[in-house]
Point group: D2
Chain length 343, copies 4
């Protein structure tokens, strides 16, 4: 019996907010070898959506009951960040593979607790959702670097910039997001480590400003922030995060090496259409990270399922998530202290 | 019961060459609401592949038996062009929905025979594979034009240019392909008609040259051809087809209107990576139409299935295929006669 | 005494319309080794401008007197096309170097008359203003082709497209312009011949349409035209000319060879600024050919002066202008006859 | 008598190294209203070049004699940075207009000494060579910002990156250059101040690495450096400088505002040619800042002459140079101390 004929991986999802719904649809409708059999949410309407739209049969309000369900092979956690660590541990202890959205936690201790539990269950997959690694362009960049296309990479410049939301939804979300760097830049941090060959970070310096959303000021957060991260081998990362871009979601990453450089994603073109009219020659940009990384979300979940089924080795490790959190926290401390902070 | 919970559409595929295999994988692995239950090929190895790789249970060497299989709801025909018309008719007469690859036929009479049979079975879907209409960029261009973004469109310039195959595989295929314009430009012709609002074509003029593949000369074919098509309302199409491009597959289309223009697909960028090195600033292009139109193939099959299941109305009509063939033939006659030919 | 210390070339200009004024300023203010000493125009205000703005001392209403002025070394003719041939001959017979704007004439006989007179004065420079050859990008393309960068070039696609002038100034000018192909495409024809290695043209086919300017219909002219030119060695040119572009002046040329292709000028970017805002990511285009070819006009005049002073050999020959006219006329005949016309 | 007919400004140039020669040719051959009448250099061969190539009649080895020459209206100083301040003062005291290359000095005290002297001679022009302000693209960006195109600008990201010189010429030059930030980033600092509306800088943080040129290590310099500058109103600048780029000289600047952003110069395209071949789709980049800013150098000198002749008001002020030096020094201190430094 070939891989594709084996029984599907039975997955339960916890958390059905905006991103949770995307993952749920992904698993139910577009992931080979997987079946979405269960959902967990404290919100009745969300559970109703899972049943009506996706035909999910088993519905839970209570996470503890959800995670113990013996029919489940794996759980996908798209819950608030503050719950990630404990829920991941509970799932591993219940013998389930786990996919958990980034960041793994807002402190290093929680990350390390998860790592310790996971170390005792090497038979289980525990994967953090650094979705950009599954984007075809980032994947090609990594392959090209590994093949020596740019010599030795030594600087990464990376940005995560969201289109401005005049309603400032994220301001209300800010108290629990960990701040702009933990929320947005954690992806760039993971990319920088990955593409630079995982050097050890030593120091971080950050600065920031509020361009539009004064509601962030009492929280100590900013809507535009920049940071420099120093690594042991002399490598450097320069990060930028913004909540206030006018033209769309613009995630881009530049990797500079001794023999060349790669630029991934510049401008965030929505598609292959160029319009020329009285306003000049123009392209539309993607509206948000869902649109930019739609294919990456597909490939990410496909990869998780393949790992759970033993068809593929894990490329993402839990320690990557711990390191991303560690660096993100140092950057955030620097934003508050005004001084470079040790990682 | 919502749409997604209904029993899947049972599909059989005939023809398992390079493109046939892609369609088969598509249906078996990535098309919601469909099941690939049967395959037909005169080549035993191809049937073996369908069984081994995709788990297809019912296998036929004989098309007549294949098409009469009562379990089938629909057939997908990826057979040689010369068989398209008769097989489509046979399938319709057997009460099956039909998806048939382009071109529908190499003569207008065959196209019209199919149209007549299809007219007697309005309950069945008969769709020709003009895959570019399902590409997100072409789809957006069509939407923008419909919304008036470029005023009244009056010129389409469109090219289908393949990367040179030094082995000249297509030369061996040329005797049955109908020539470069029927094989490549038929897509551009359909795009031009679609994006110009389906005006009636009146005349065509073509010219061509052999840049590399002298083996085409005895066949009256060329490896680079250009044509001008005139439409009744004054619209014009300028077409270009090449078998000899150096940098990759480069399909692009420009639609010029009274208030602006749209350019779709220029350069055929493979992904979002730009490399800067001692050779300058460069991008890779897609290697072939599979890579360029991978997502369009997915959306095309998804749309066919949705039409068969009554969830979506057909946008592609058989008469579109007839008109594309009619124009393609006039262009081809002009290449041979050296004179403009009436459509 | 080195070149730069020799006495300047004394130039007179005839014709002080829009383009004439540009040339006059060019010569007076930005051309090394040249001095603008005389001007000729039937329009008193234009002569006044030359005296006031540029300090030109000698002013003529009468061309015959102008051209005989013994102080002149060279004349620059920016007069109506119908006068080009006779004035060029008069200047050569008066012993002056001549720079004459394109096209040299609207019939081949006039071109050949000029060629014959010029052949008797090999000591004099006679240069036609195919300004694009002096554009740095076109010059680099020619160099690259000569160096084999794209193998053997066999197709040129070239367009000259002007931003729409809602006032339709060019409609009033149309009766004497020779039509869209003689007025606009003559540049593309010269580029195609130059970049393809000057093969002999054999046939031309043209088509066209009126998108906006109905005033052209009684004149047999169009505001958008396309043509295919066939050359003896199998090379082909595909030309496009438009008067109705929305985004600006967009002159571009693609040269396709057996090993690659060059694209010059696409989109007509005005400068190096990219703006990203609520309208997407956009660039401005140049407004007109003055803006696009400003530097080329400088280099062209500098080259003319250098040729006159014997510091540089002529690259442009009068026969190039004759051939461009010959091909342009065949295209224009084809537009009217609807049939391919021999060149 | 109109402006263009007045006697030319008589200019003397001091310093005839690589950049000095460019300025000398510029003045002698391409600057309207100016005449290069004198040159000063301690190197006999350079003076010989000025006489032979440009016909300069008056030649000095001694600066004191050069600057007192009564025939001179203005001097252009392209001498080593350490001499800029004293020579500028000497020229002003001799009653000459002064153009001096950037940076004005490597310490703030010298800048302020020059400012004090200049304040006593408001009749004289004293201009520092921030050439990028005269680049058409930067000029258009400034105009667009002034017109409100991007709302309120609050972040500038700017880089000056040179193509790697394997011979490491700049390493030998490093001991007197002031380091990578004073040598390269001083332009970006001036651009940032200019485009942000000249806010007061408060702090700077820098980091850097040596990618290729170990010879810099004993000097405390780096070949790749990045910095964050904080301004009083919350504006931020992020700077990057590199000596090791593979593809060419790549100067680019991004100005981010509350309603959009401008990107100037990205990729440093050499011209309008795009090549597509077996290596993909590629463009060449400019080789160095001369090629990138050739037109800006012309416009800069033209502007200096126009200011001296009273035809134009100065836009660049000496205090801009002082501020650029002040910020550059704070960045350099931070590179050495590892801590943010007050400006």
């Amino acid at each position: 019996m070939t891989a594709s004929h084996r029984p599907p991986l039975k997955i339960g999802i916890a958390g059905l907010g905006r991103l949770g719904k995307r993952h749920a649809e992904q698993i139910a409708l577009r992931t080979r070898g997987a079946e979405l059999v269960s959902a967990c949410s404290p919100v009745a309407a969300e559970l109703g959506w899972a049943r009506e739209s996706l035909g999910v049969q088993t519905l839970h309000e209570d996470f503890a009951a959800f995670v113990r369900d013996p029919q489940l092979d794996a759980v996908v956690l798209v819950t608030p960040t503050s719950l990630h660590a404990d829920q991941t541990i509970a799932a591993l202890e219940a013998g389930k593979h786990v996919f958990v959205e980034k960041p793994l936690a807002l402190n290093v201790e929680d990350c390390e607790r998860v790592e310790r539990v996971a170390a005792r269950r090497p038979d289980l997959v525990a994967m953090v959702g650094f979705v950009r690694r599954f984007d075809p362009s980032y994947a090609r960049a990594a392959d090209d670097i590994a093949a020596g296309a740019i010599g030795r990479p030594f600087v990464v410049r990376s940005q995560t910039c969201d289109q401005n939301d005049p309603d400032g939804f994220f301001v209300r979300f800010a108290p629990t997001s960990g701040g702009i760097f933990m929320d947005c830049s954690v992806h760039d941090i993971d990319l920088a480590r990955w593409l630079l060959g995982k050097p050890r970070a030593t120091r971080a310096f950050a600065s920031g400003t509020i361009a539009l959303h004064e509601g962030l000021r009492p929280l100590g957060d900013v809507d535009n922030g920049m940071a420099i991260v120093e690594f042991e081998g002399g490598q450097r990362a320069v990060l930028y995060a913004s909540r206030t871009f006018a033209h769309g979601h613009d995630t881009q990453t530049e990797i500079i090496g001794t023999a060349g450089q790669l630029l991934v994603g510049q401008g965030g073109a929505r598609d292959r259409v160029v319009t020329s009219d009285a306003n000049g020659v123009h392209r539309q940009s993607v509206a948000d990270f869902f649109e930019r990384f739609g294919i990456a979300f597909e490939r990410e979940m496909q990869s998780f399922v393949a790992c759970c089924r033993g068809e593929q080795a894990m490329s993402l490790e839990l320690s990557d998530a711990t390191q991303a959190t560690r660096i993100g926290l140092a950057i955030t401390r620097s934003l508050h202290s005004g001084q470079p902070e040790p990682v």
